[in-house]
Point group: C2
Chain length 342, copies 2
């Protein structure tokens, strides 16, 4: 018999990126209990704790590591620090749930993989653009059920709002973020691997650019990459920080999936000029067209599965292999882009 | 003073692709007179003439070439025959209006360019997906007016319905069509050059595949390519023959244009699950979002300009350079794809 999600407790540590709110909300909604929180910035920690009234503030990361009544540490640290944190978390006997991207170099990623093997603990990655999005999640279920036949291509458009004044300085430093393909790209690659059912892929082409931010020379505001999966499926993604100010969402994220028997469009955040927020699917196959309103419909099963995997030591939410492969391919795309355009 | 479009007469010859109907309709709507028609298939010629009651049937292509009371010959021949036809048309002292793609090899294209130079006549190309589409045309005007700032990327999705039983045998032979990037790709490249204002571009990556038609081994049902323009603008296009049977249009063609100050989505043929036909623009910039219904709104100014260019020997509709560059880049993408995947 499965243990109840209510047995599951976790801590939040390193709140550098606001994705930590989504990570914690997801786990709490699935029945988990947030027990402890820590951040090096006391003001940010206070703000976080106000939104989580039952949480106990800790005074150091060492206290987080020492807490033996939590199963997992959720974290959204500066990306370049995520692997080192994760290794310490896993060595302390807990699982690790990091914001994407989990690593900013292939070397880091390799040591994270080794850490998982050596400790027997797990690293989960918050690839929110699929895992915490109703339409993106539902798309996977439809594809799994054969709604579009064999997937031939996954194409993602992922504009994001820069909101420059709200960003910390590390956000503009590639040494901290790993670059736009490592960061925003990892979401897209993860969707490709999921929707197209690839076990591996090779990078055909990748490019990054800083078109409009000469004052931040180490910042990339545009990236694109193309891959081909081991099963022949094709992948293209554009990522950028060019969401216009007038859009009532952080970004008009879309996926277009072409299959042998049908096609899918995912409007992840809004229906431009019509509805915001929205989470819509457009399925077309031989039966005709169908518009599917997904907003609030899935309950984001990833989080419940994650909790099950922690308690049962199973692998139902996302395999370690898949989570790391998405990161690895994003890093490889980034490396190719860096090489080509240096 | 400009001469009136009513002075403009043309012939239609080689009706192999139904695009000839759109070409003639465009010229007639702009005031031109279709005087003569010829096709090697008498039945097809009869069908065409029934739709154009005033037209005189000719018995051979030689009679078309000899007709000295038309300014131009419109043609939608088998693609591999288009250059040879065009050379003969121009040598007979008339301008040539061919369906895209104008050529199926770089060598052919070069001889077409030479033909234009040597005869002083013009070759127009029917890049219908922009020239004969309200929203696509209007997008160009908005970009020209600065609605999205500097264009950073043009991304096109161009699925087409195969309708296999309706296709002639040459359609499935690459020796006749030049391949999917040469054919469908040329539309997309033409839009890239127009919207992004590029004078040249290089091909980063290209791929073609035959995923689902093993019975037609020389057919390509999928293609993709990436380019970078001389001004740094990025281009990606996917072309395919995978429009699902249930779509009430030949294809859900889209363009996504990212600029420094805003973005544009073009829904060229329909609004999936909502309206078909449709010709819609979605403009987002710092002012907010705007949905612009373009269907029937532009009058397709290309055709009137084409007639002016023929009568006045001007170059207002589309420069020869631009028309041929779009074809050349498509051919280069095709060549790269053929090379990589051979």
């Amino acid at each position: 018999m499965k243990r109840a999600a209510s047995e599951f407790s976790f801590a939040a540590s390193h709140l550098d990126h606001p994705h930590i709110f989504g990570q914690c909300r997801g786990l709490e909604s699935a029945g988990g209990t947030l027990k402890y929180a820590y951040d090096r910035d006391p003001q940010r920690l206070d703000g976080f704790c106000k939104l989580h009234p039952g949480v106990t503030k800790l005074r150091s990361f060492e206290e987080v590591l020492a807490a033996d009544d939590v199963h997992l540490v959720a974290s959204a640290a500066v990306p370049s620090e995520r692997v080192e944190l994760g290794l310490q978390v896993m060595q302390s006997g807990k699982d690790y749930f990091t914001d994407k991207a989990p690593a900013t170099s292939l070397e880091q990623l390799e040591s994270l993989r080794r850490g998982v093997e050596e400790t027997g603990r797990k690293t989960f990655v918050y690839y929110a653009e699929r895992l915490h999005n109703d339409a993106a999640w539902r798309a996977g279920e439809l594809i799994e059920a054969g709604a579009v036949g064999r997937v031939l291509q996954v194409l993602n458009l992922a504009p994001h709002r820069l909101a420059k004044p709200t960003r910390p300085s590390w956000f503009f430093e590639k040494a901290c973020t790993g670059g736009i393909l490592t960061d925003l790209g990892s979401h897209q690659v993860e969707q490709f691997l999921s929707y197209a059912g690839c076990e591996s892929a090779s990078v055909n082409f990748a490019r990054v650019a800083n078109f409009g931010h000469p004052d931040s020379p180490n910042f990339e505001d545009f990236g694109e990459c193309s891959m081909t999966g081991d099963n022949g499926a094709s992948f293209y993604a554009r990522v950028d920080w060019y969401t216009p100010d007038g859009l009532p969402s952080w970004g008009d994220g879309r996926s277009f999936i072409v299959g042998t028997e049908g096609s899918l469009e995912i409007r992840k955040t809004l229906d431009p000029s019509r509805q915001s927020p929205a989470s819509l699917l457009f399925l077309t196959n031989s039966d005709g067209e169908e518009e599917i309103d997904c907003l609030g419909q899935t309950g984001f099963p990833f989080f419940e599965r994650l909790i099950t995997d922690v308690l049962e030591r199973s692998e139902t939410a996302m395999s370690q292999r898949h989570a790391f492969l998405a990161a690895e391919l994003s890093l490889r795309a980034q490396a190719l882009a860096d090489h080509v355009w240096d």
